[in-house]
Symmetry: C2
Subunit: 246 residues, 2 copies
DNA sequence: CCTAAATGTCTATTGATATAGACAACCATA
DNA sequence: TATGGTTGTCTATATCAATAGACATTTAGG
């Protein structure tokens, strides 16, 4: 199903090998090659995309660099990793529960924390005075030891003093909130956009440059509707999809 | 706010001028240059991104091609268009209502229609027997004469015979359903992913190659929960954001 | 154990991408 | 009207991206 085979585009500022790498990565995630566990031969792919075999080789080399495939002389190009995590977005969205059994091991790392005055945008979202102190956490989430998202999240400092340590110890926002006396919270809005990966994305999420990033900006409130957290999370688009159930 | 200034990346398969074009486009949509209505001078941008002025010029030429900016010798590079449409995704998601007053004129074009047997994936989603006949519509939606989405949508043929004509005349799914006796329908699930634009996207949505596409796969049912429509819609990521309100 | 089917390596050539520098043309404004 | 700031154009050079062809090397299977 899905949209039909379209050809690659030239002179667009995106190298052919990168377009082809993206397409093959998507096909792998889509399960197109599950029957064989291998990517089609270089000759076949070259004909399929209408390019030279060497161009396909560049694409496969990039995917090998990402650890998605492994080429073996005489045998073919074997698929090493094949995944696309699904994140349900609901009124009770939780990172770790959302992954569910799609991954065995889940992990939340605190990269950095700071206190700072709220910007105009942030104060409006959290409904606090402009310039009021907020705690900012930079976090990295992993599933089965592979990074799946990079987040910047803000909390009102007066209410959630010490959340840096709570998160650092637990690796979970839900648990950190609970440690500070907030037993439940609700997702009230999520904005989803997409962009190219920036330098920090490439490093933290272990992507190859030119990758696409899904950006989710989320606002959580306590059960009374008072904003408790605003978060901007960045996910590799070829590893993740969001599902909104109404 | 938002993520900090990161530099462009070399030898990634994505040309520098394209990365810079994407960044400037995003800054425009973000309102960063609202004070002057102009993009900063080429020299300044070149210094900012750490590249040669000519590289910046290539980026600006691409944006001019898209109609986003217009360079005037002696004056600077003026911003011509600055928009990012917001699409709320709710249980009652409707394209035209969703845009609301963000655009004055809305339009739905029927590009192509066909009848075909349902694939395995489609039959599961619409809960009809595999191979049962479905009607497929290829549509293009515009707001203020600019294309904002390209959709492929499927309907069970037995229940919605003649929907091609109904849509073609009305330019609205909601109205077409009503003409065929379905007065209301509900959005039950939406899957959101992102990918690079393909050839058809570039042509229909009038994008420059390498652009990013947000893909929404949506299932609508009648009030009794019986699936009536499955749609795959593609939106230019730099023009659109989705908002999920819970 | 030979052969077909793969991937690996090498050389050569062309066009796109990026840098560098210089100068022309144009506009707003002091 | 002179000047500073800005975009437009030109030449030159180096590197990356893509094509082309030939041949080596490895693996699986008859």
């Amino acid at each position: 199903m899905d949209t039909g085979q379209t050809n690659v585009h030239r002179q667009n500022g995106v190298a052919l090998w990168r377009q082809i790498a993206d397409r093959i990565r998507a096909s792998i995630a889509n399960g197109d090659y599950d029957a064989t566990g291998k990517v089609p031969p270089e000759f076949t792919l070259a004909a399929q995309f209408g390019v030279n075999r060497h161009t396909v080789r560049s694409a496969l080399a990039a995917l090998a660099q990402e650890g998605i495939v492994r080429s073996v002389q005489g045998r073919g190009t074997l698929i090493e990793r094949k995944e696309r995590l699904n994140f349900p977005i609901t009124r009770r969205t939780r990172f770790s529960e959302g992954i569910g059994d799609q991954a065995r091991e889940k992990e939340g790392l605190l990269l950095h924390s700071a206190q700072e005055p709220a910007s105009a945008d942030l104060s409006a979202r959290l409904r606090i005075p402009e310039g009021a102190t907020v705690i900012r956490l930079e976090t990295l989430r992993k599933a089965d030891h592979r990074p799946v998202s990079r987040s910047t999240t803000w909390f009102p400092a007066d209410r959630f003093d010490g959340i840096e340590e709570a998160y650092s110890k637990s690796g979970s926002i839900t648990v950190a909130f609970r440690m500070l006396g907030l037993s439940d919270y609700l997702r009230v809005s999520t904005e989803v956009t997409a962009t190219h990966a920036d330098g920090a994305d490439l490093a933290d999420l272990q992507l190859s440059p030119g990758a696409i990033i899904l950006v989710a900006r989320a606002l959580n409130t306590d059960p009374d509707g008072v904003p408790v957290q605003y978060a901007v999370s960045r996910f590799p688009a070829d590893m993740v999809q969001f599902t909104i159930e109404n």
